[in-house]
């Protein structure tokens, strides 16, 4: 074997992370443990970004403005040590995994690991995050699409292996696989964005209520059997 299994495994993991960072397609819901009087919280290292934050069921707005203190001072007489129910949160590009609440939380809220998509929503501080891939032992929800890994990541692995300095270096082969990887990554990007487009609209209009015409037809409750 030209390349060791450790090398191949390392590049496979690199490739999966590259795809996750590029497409931001691994999303997860986590909760934060909140301490009364503490405004700043460190997020886990696998977090690439936060798309939404719910404070006990209410979606908080985010701000990138570093002058938040002044903004609040102007608007509502905010002071840095003011406590209450947070109205927004702030994340800096300089410290992308630190989250700061305004005003500072006045109550503590425990974190939860289950029920974040259902019963716990009204009672927890929930973050919808983009993340890096988990390990093979982690929950499947934290991995890249199982159906895309075989046809995509192999090109990344071969591109990296053949680019390495050494006897097995072959830049022609490396370039071939780089081109294949880029092309297939573009396809995956299209497939992923299509998952949220709800096409084809030809037979699924945006919001139809079935009208008198359908009642004339005595439409059965279930149109199509599984």
């Amino acid at each position: 074997m030209i390349f060791s299994s450790e090398t191949i495994q390392r590049f496979a993991e690199d490739g999966e992370e590259w795809v996750a960072r590029t497409l931001r397609c691994i999303r997860q819901r986590i909760s934060l443990s909140i301490t009364a009087g503490v405004s700043e919280y460190e997020l886990p290292s696998y977090v690439l970004g936060v798309s939404r934050l719910l404070w006990c069921g209410t979606k908080l707005s985010s701000t990138r403005s570093a002058s938040l203190d002044f903004k609040f001072a102007d608007l509502i007489g905010f002071t840095a040590d003011m406590q209450g129910t947070p109205q927004c949160y702030f994340m800096s590009d300089a410290t992308p995994r630190t989250i700061k609440f305004y005003p500072t939380p006045s109550i503590g809220i425990a974190k939860a690991t289950i029920g974040l998509y259902s019963s716990e929503i009204p009672y927890r501080v929930i973050l919808d995050i983009y993340r890096t891939p988990g390990t093979s032992e982690d929950d499947e929800d934290t991995r890249l699409f199982y159906w895309a890994l075989p046809w995509l990541i192999k090109h990344y692995v071969e591109y990296k292996c053949y680019s390495q300095e050494g006897k097995a270096q072959d830049l022609e082969l490396a370039n071939y696989h780089k081109k294949q990887f880029d092309e297939k990554l573009r396809l995956l990007q299209l497939i992923y964005s299509d998952m949220f487009s709800f096409r084809p609209k030809a037979f699924m209009p945006t919001s139809p209520t079935l009208t008198s015409r359908h009642r004339e037809f005595n439409l059965p409750e279930k149109y199509i059997q599984e």
Binding site: D128, P200, A202, M204, T206, S207, T209, T211, Y223, I224
Partner: protein, 294 residues
């Protein structure tokens, strides 16, 4: 429908290796599997429907764990109300109502939070049943699987798998010939699948109605959905507001400051488009109407 055995034979012939001396059946199967995953995911070639019971007071369900090989939603039908739920983005709902995830009421919108979790707004107060239309990614294949694709799809699988096998042997020029053929026809195949997809749904609806020769527009008239601020003055005394269109029956949801108002209690609707509130809203309050119209 050609079988996977036919596909093995054709690919072996393309590789000039009919006796499978250089390319084993397992190697070829792996390439066919890659092609099948890619083709089905990109071209929406596998459409399914399923009945899903949505539990009371539930905002999200993980469709990937409930529907095998689930790829993406096409539409959600609510049989009890004889209507499709309106597709919306999470971002839009966040702007309309900051507490939409915990709002209980009449479900009329669906969202995809990510590629697994589907949400409804509003979450129902009792169990309801939806019919979900969705696409699947190709299933895991074995030596005697049935691959259900059109003849054109079958040729695409053959092209990709042949190219993939040659690529693994570093026969890059030959591999490019087959792979270019695959990628060159992929978009056209996707377009053809879209037409077949729409036609198959219409046919199925037509069969259930005992009708034939239906077109898309006769089965489901093209309704338009709208979210708007009704026209009227917010001054603490005015109670009349006007909608831009006449809502379809039972489709109007009217909100004051994100709180759903009850028809004939909090407001009345007359002349098709005229709203009369029971209490006059003050300046700065927010009135919002969501409805469908023809």
């Amino acid at each position: 429908m050609p079988s996977i055995t036919t596909l093995f034979t054709r690919i072996s012939e393309n590789l000039e290796d009919s006796s499978n001396r250089f390319y084993t059946q397992a190697t070829i199967l792996k390439s066919i599997q890659d092609a099948y995953y890619l083709l089905s995911a990109y071209a929406d070639s596998k459409v399914k429907s399923a009945t899903l019971v949505w539990p009371a007071n539930t905002t999200y369900l993980n469709l990937e764990s409930r529907l095998s090989n689930f790829l993406k939603i096409l539409g959600v039908y609510y049989p009890a109300q004889r209507r499709f739920l309106a597709p919306r983005s999470v971002e839009l709902l966040d702007k309309l109502a900051t507490r939409w995830e915990v709002t209980v009421g009449f479900p009329y919108v669906f969202v995809m939070l990510d590629h697994r979790y589907m949400g409804v707004y509003q979450q129902p107060s009792s169990d309801v049943t939806f019919t979900i239309y969705y696409t699947e990614v190709g299933e895991h294949l074995s030596d005697n699987s049935n691959i259900i694709v059109s003849d054109e799809g079958f040729r695409l699988l053959e092209n990709y798998a042949t190219g993939d096998c040659l690529e693994s042997s570093i026969e890059l020029a030959k591999a490019s010939f087959w792979l270019d053929s695959f990628f060159g026809k992929l978009e056209l195949y996707k377009e053809s699948q879209r037409d077949i997809l729409a036609a198959s749904i219409v046919n199925a609806l037509g069969e259930s109605l005992g009708k034939t020769g239906l077109s898309i527009s006769t089965v489901i008239p093209a309704a338009q959905s709208i979210i708007e601020t009704p026209l009227g003055t917010m001054n603490g005394s005015n109670v009349t507001f006007v909608l831009s269109y006449e809502p379809q029956a039972n489709s109007l949801a009217l909100y004051l400051n994100d709180v759903l108002l009850v028809l004939n209690t909090d407001y009345t609707l007359s002349n098709g488009t005229d709203i009369t509130l029971s209490t006059a809203p003050n300046y700065g309050e927010y009135l919002r109407a969501e409805y469908t119209h023809l």
